[in-house]
């Protein structure tokens, strides 16, 4: 038990980092209704850019800013593939993600780069988890505040409308293509920022660190939504829910590790959990709603 509690601060900080990543995913998945797979690549891009810059002696905050911008660039590529070339969003994301694997390797020059807290002024490290939690909460709070403000502006509202009803948005003079690109850029910028934080926290960047990131992001979202959506309509509270979703995910992970369950199975478990959470509401709609029962009856009568 002591072992479990000892590991909790670490789980919480990792959860906060992935929670920030999940907030990025939330922007595309929930607000724009786009499934963007770029994130598996852009999280590593963020880590790679931050690691290389810090290794070269650049200030950590400047490095993180550059990592965020690099993530925005990844989103821009996916956005242009999707809007200008009309490639379906999922495929556009996969294409960028694939290309990023090579690009990330080129940025780092090798598959793995250390970023040791002993040699570099990292802002968070797993050697000091309490401090890391404090810093991460501040950063996440600033991000949530910023997003809360942005999605209340004219531009932000028009991005929300784009995801909600594209026909209505065009009829109201909203440049929906531009908004999709913007949303993808903001989303991947945040994801890359979380990658930069992750690299500092764990002390290295690795070309494979983003594998399955989208699933962890979605898991955090569904956990957060399930826990908070019912009680809160407020956008900022929902984002906090997503952040906490990430934390819950990693705490559960810790418990699983503590129980001695094979952690190799964790990605499969995550996938199953996300599939269940995403699928069950649809099943409910299909088989238990009054409308669908009525439709089914009508279809039966017409046949």
């Amino acid at each position: 038990m002591e072992h479990l509690f000892g590991a909790l601060p670490g789980a919480v900080s990792l959860g906060l980092i992935w929670g920030i990543m999940a907030i990025g995913v939330y922007i595309t998945f929930k607000i724009l209704a786009i499934s963007d797979l770029t994130v598996d690549g852009s999280i590593c891009t963020g880590a790679a850019v931050c690691t290389m810059l810090m290794t070269a002696g650049v200030d950590p905050w400047v490095s993180m800013l550059c990592a965020t911008l690099a993530g925005g660039l990844c989103g821009l590529v996916t956005g242009l593939l999707h809007t200008v070339l009309d490639i379906p969003a999922i495929l556009a994301g996969i294409l960028t993600q694939l290309a990023l694997w090579s690009i990330n390797l080129k940025i780092m020059g090798q598959a793995n780069r250390p970023l040791s807290a002993r040699n570099f002024p990292v802002i968070i490290t797993q050697m000091k988890t309490e401090e890391a939690i404090f810093t991460l909460v501040l950063i996440a709070g600033a991000i949530i505040g910023l997003l809360y403000w942005f999605f209340g502006t004219e531009l932000g509202c028009s991005i929300r409308a784009t995801g909600c009803n594209i026909n209505m948005s065009r009829a109201q003079g909203i440049n929906t293509e531009l908004n999709k690109v913007l949303g993808l850029m903001i989303s991947n910028g945040l994801v890359a920022l979380s990658g930069a934080l992750l690299a500092q926290y764990q002390g290295f960047a690795d070309v494979n660190m983003g594998r399955g990131a989208i699933v962890i992001g979605l898991a955090a979202i569904v956990i957060g939504e399930t826990a908070f959506a019912k009680i809160a309509r407020n956008f900022a509270v929902r984002l906090c829910g997503v952040l906490l979703g990430g934390v819950i995910y990693y705490v559960v992970y810790q418990v699983i590790v503590f129980l001695g369950i094979d952690t190799d199975l964790l990605k499969m478990l995550s996938a199953v959990v996300v599939a269940i959470f995403l699928g069950v509401p649809n099943l409910k709609k299909k088989y238990f709603s009054k409308v669908s029962k009525k439709r089914a009856k009508e279809a039966g009568e017409n046949a």
């Binding site: 509202c157 909600c164 109201q172 003079g173 909203i174």
Partner: protein, 264 residues
């Protein structure tokens, strides 16, 4: 106000699904015209409206709104001249956003959307008064999500939105077709009020011949991608449903087949 010169549109050109939906249509609307559009299924009515909105580009011809050639203008840029209400009540509003947020989106149609607040305090008051004119009690539900409203309420809100930001042209595509008769009547009443209050030049598609006769100062009938009947003024006022059917038969050389149109 609106000048359509000789526009044509063919869908899926060169395939077996080729469909000439608009054939050299020309139409001029004067300032303040309220034109009702009737015609059977597939006559090209919605296609005509979509051509004006710029959902896609027309194959040939010109579209001029308020003196500006918009033939090549993108849909979202044209939107500043146009107020639109769709047949599907779900389509004209953003379900996950508040009533007041939807109105605020419409108010900014054709304007630059920057980092100012998406909705300001003064606006809320303005919207409350605007919603009150509908007489549906929506002024007390300004922060409700639009998705919670009934189809008729949503169409009414969409109408308000369409009339905001001073459109040059109001385009209504069977906007009462999905509503029950009583609600449809109420929404039509609201339409009349809004059109009169804002002096809007209007194009209204309907399947109901009685409504087509009762409303507006001009009536056009479409058939197979062409305008086959165009009446206005006194002649339009004195029309009967029988006249319309007779006109249709004469102009098209066919019996009017659409049972939906007969439903009037």
């Amino acid at each position: 106000m609106l000048e359509i010169k000789n526009i044509s549109k063919t869908f899926n050109a060169g395939t077996i699904n080729e469909k000439r939906a608009l054939k050299n249509v020309s139409l001029t609307l004067n300032d303040g015209d309220f034109v009702t559009v009737i015609g059977g299924n597939g006559a090209g009515k919605s296609t005509l409206l979509n051509a004006i909105c710029g959902t896609w580009r027309v194959d040939e011809g010109e579209i001029i709104i308020d003196g500006k050639d918009v033939t090549l203008t993108a849909e979202h840029k044209r939107a500043k001249y146009l107020g639109r209400v769709f047949q599907d009540p779900m389509m004209g509003t953003a379900a996950d956003m508040e009533i007041q947020e939807n109105l605020a989106l419409a108010k900014r149609r054709g304007k630059k959307r920057g980092l100012g607040w998406g909705i300001s305090k003064n606006e809320r008051e303005e919207y409350r008064e605007l919603l009150a004119t509908l007489g549906l009690g929506l002024e007390d539900r300004m922060t409700s999500k639009v998705g919670l409203l009934s189809g008729g309420q949503r169409q009414a809100v969409t109408l308000l939105m369409a009339a905001m930001a001073e459109p040059k042209l109001l385009l209504l595509d069977e906007h009462t077709a999905a509503l029950d008769p009583k609600t449809a009547e109420k929404v039509l009443e609201i339409t009349e009020e809004i059109v009169n209050k804002n002096h809007l030049t209007t194009l209204m598609i309907t399947h109901n011949m009685r409504d087509a006769i009762k409303h507006g100062n001009r009536l056009i009938m479409m058939h197979e991608g062409r305008v086959i009947v165009d009446v206005c003024g006194e002649e339009k006022k004195n029309l009967t449903v029988e006249d319309l059917l007779e006109m249709f038969n004469r102009a098209s050389g066919k019996e009017f087949a659409s049972d939906r149109a007969m439903l009037s």
